[in-house]
Amino acid sequence: MAAKKLNIKDKYRLLTRDLDWDFSYEDRKQAFPYEEFEGIKITDWNKWEDPFRLTMDSYWKYQAEKEKKLYAIFDAFSQNNGHLNVVDSRYVNALKLFLTGVSPLEYQAYQGFAHVGRQFSGVGARVACQMQSLDELRHVQTQIHAMSHYNKFFDGFQEFSHMHDRVWYLSVPRSFFCDARSAGPFEFMVAIGFSFEYVLTNLLFVPFMSGAAHNGDMATVTFGFSAQSDEARHMTLGLEVIKFLLEQHEDNVPIVQKWIDKWFWRGTRLLTIVAMMMDYMLPNKVMSWKEAWEVYFEEAGGALFKDLARYGIRMPKYAETIEKEKEHISHQAWWTFYTHGHAAGFHTWIPSDKELDWLSAQYPDTFDKYYRPLWELAKEQEAKGERFYTSGLPQLCQTCQIPMLFTEMDNPNQNSMRDSVFEDERYHFCSDGCKDIFDEEPEKYVQSWLPVHQIFQGNCGGPGVEDVLSDYYKMNVGVDNMDIKGSPDEKRWNEWKGIA
């Protein structure tokens, strides 16, 4: 007689809940020492629900299938010189930023979920976090493999891991994850599992990857969507964590709300770089940052917070500021990188006239008024052979570590600056959101490793900026950095394509 096949619910029960054990001679609290200090109250871990009910055997089966598909495409991409099919050599700079700024975050996510996957005393949450941890390790590996092909033909990919730990703009994503990982396990889950995965990673992996496809990059769209197929499970885990915490005890509600306020603001700041990649670094446009923000943050996030209202959770603090910022941040960020293009590990450029017209059409209320004049000035300077690079180092926000490039939303000609005094030292911030986060935990953020401060303190070599770039950051100065015009990347591309 054939064995009866278990249904999903029974299989899930046997292969997760049934793997737990009681502690008869050890103290359960000592086995899970981080579970209480954040003030979160869990009364019954058995109430944990995993809607996907994925068990380890199915997990391996489906992940193996995803990997086989993915690596077959990488092989085809590489064997057919797929890098020649991207729209132009400017596009590849978005990938340099992705490999140095985003892929190492996948590794940090792997470490973070491995940690919380050990620290929760509920077995359902532990199993889900362990699977996510393995997913994140798969993501960083597939991304490095995909981009190793580009590393053979373009500059700027060679020291991504070294740069991630040191370079001024890469301290933004790096410190974001360090902040989450050095918090308690429940804050980590609200930060990464919920705020980042449920709402914000969609903006990175969905419209940007669709954009990669639209720019002829078969390798990137493939790893992007393969990673994203795990992401749907991560989003569901993130939402489950929130609902579980809110249903367990009413005392959890204000703690969770505080974390949501903090991490949506932190995440919004982090995504500035993605805004810039979509509006300025993809030569073929899929949708503007503003439109992507409306679909994935305002519409999808709005539906989510409407659903959470029954628990007493409201929209994240500063949602009104965030709504105004969608009109500005991509322009403010790309201008900053353009003017600091000598200190970046990738190339920058003035948008083409066609692209400037596209930006004017997409941002009718702001682009012509505030940003197009800057690019017209840059064009004049470039025509005179005076391409502008700033000689100063930017002041950084103590919390998000982004240069003070943002303006007041009610007056986009005025830089936004805030400050707080803690133990007789004054600290500077880019926004009310970042100042609030500091004021809540100043002991944590006074320890921030701010790249510009470190350079001035002599901790990054020197004495000149060029010495820091070449010796401490390991950039090939004059090759990896500066304008795309006249770069070795552009020269090789033109040779391959037979462009005079």
Partner: protein
């Protein structure tokens, strides 16, 4: 009522899944974007195993959805026969 949504990679398998979704959810909206297909519906969207199997002409496990899934929005409930996305407010 808010919209739930699901996005799938644009490939041969997804094509049948999208057909099944349209049949099971008559007033859903299908949006084609580069390399992906996004389907939205007010409140609730269901993917039924039996309908997908009918379209594909083979057995289909609901968890196979994971292979071609890009993203989703809504509360998930999955069992052997169907996959449901729903906002409950």
């Amino acid at each position: 009522m808010s919209k739930v949504y699901i996005a799938l990679q644009d490939n041969d398998e997804s094509r049948y899944i999208v057909e099944a979704i349209e049949e099971s959810n008559p007033d859903s909206t299908v949006i084609h974007q580069p390399a992906m297909i996004r389907i939205e519906r007010e409140g609730r969207l269901v993917i039924e195993r039996a309908v997908v199997e009918e379209k594909m002409g083979r057995d289909w496990d609901v968890q196979e959805l994971h292979i071609n899934l890009i993203t989703l929005g809504g509360n998930v409930d999955e069992d052997d026969d169907q996959f449901v996305l729903e906002w409950k407010q």
